[in-house]
């Protein structure tokens, strides 16, 4: 198996991975998640069996690090004294920017929305990334966009 030099992968995808992490994990989490992503990728790289789908492989790692960052932020969140009146109501997004709203989506929808709309990733590649069927990948894009559309219409 001839893997390209890791630097080639880094050069090609470094900016996109960083944008992905800023968008899905948030600006304050992005730097750490970025380093964690690339270090994990570098660690696993020589054991890769296939050199096709490197981008999907890389963004799957980035997605996992983004999810870790979300969890870490959740743990750091200050507990509030008052319980929300209606527990079933979705929490008010803290960040009302478009990416703030994206970050409120479920993890796979966050990834799907970013990779499809920003990177123009084909559905078969997105399916590989999400470890799902192509149909499920389409659904994640569709559901994520639908929810964002609805939220923006409510404003």
């Amino acid at each position: 198996m001839n893997l390209p030099p890791f630097q080639a992968l880094l050069q090609e995808h470094r900016a996109d991975v960083y944008r992905f992490l800023v968008a899905t994990a948030g600006p304050s989490e992005a730097d750490d998640a970025f380093q964690e992503t690339w270090i994990a990728a570098l660690r696993a790289y020589p054991r890769l069996r296939r050199a096709d789908n490197l981008r999907a492989w890389l963004f799957r790692i980035a997605q996992n690090k983004s999810i870790d960052a979300h969890r870490a932020r959740g743990r750091r969140a200050v507990p509030v004294a008052a319980v929300p009146e209606s527990p079933s109501a979705p929490p008010e997004p803290e960040d009302e920017s478009l990416w703030g709203r994206v970050r409120e989506l479920p993890a796979k929808q966050r990834t799907a929305v970013f990779c499809r709309t920003v990177l123009g990733m084909p559905y078969d590649e997105l399916a590989t990334l999400l470890e799902s069927s192509e149909e499920a990948a389409r659904r994640n894009v569709h559901e994520g966009l639908k929810r964002l559309r609805e939220e923006l219409e409510h404003d």
Binding site: P5, F6, A8, Y18, A23, D31, P46, L98, F114, V118
Partner: protein
Amino acid sequence: MTDIEQQLREAALDLPTESPPLAERADEEGLLDVAYTSVDSPLGPLVVAATPKGLVRVSYTEFRGEDEVLEDLARRVSPRVLEAPARLDAVRRELDEYFEGRRQDFDTAIDWSYLAGFTREVLRATARIGFGEVSTYAGVAEAAGSPRAVRAAGNALGANPMPVIVPCHRVLRTGGSLGGYTGGLERKEFLLRLEGMLL
């Protein structure tokens, strides 16, 4: 109102792309198998690369493109190849001093482990030829332990992965003609002139 997909694409243009560096952390984690950088020299730009054990490559970029060199390193040494100038600071300094005429011997460690058999013996013998000395293909073959393998010695020198530092330019044809040089004969002449071995 523009559609959400268009809005996302536009919002993506505002996302920062200036990401933090990685090489230092990779080195700390023991994952920087091959560090490389580019070094300017009077012979044109060089790609130099080192493992944690020492130097593995010096290559004339104008002779062989950087991409090709990195692909070769990925195949022969490890695919964990990263641009990481810090590991090569000492080599860079030594090369600068050498080309300025302020250094005769290189102190930098060499990682010989990716060279095998006779090639390795020939190149190790070549590394022992000092500044201001020259040898011959036959002489190097003998020093490598196989006096009759003159042609094989020539092939090993032609495949020298660390020119300048492993001074294959100091190996001439018996009788004094220059012989060949991977990287071009004009470079061999330049180096011999720098060392006072050619007028």
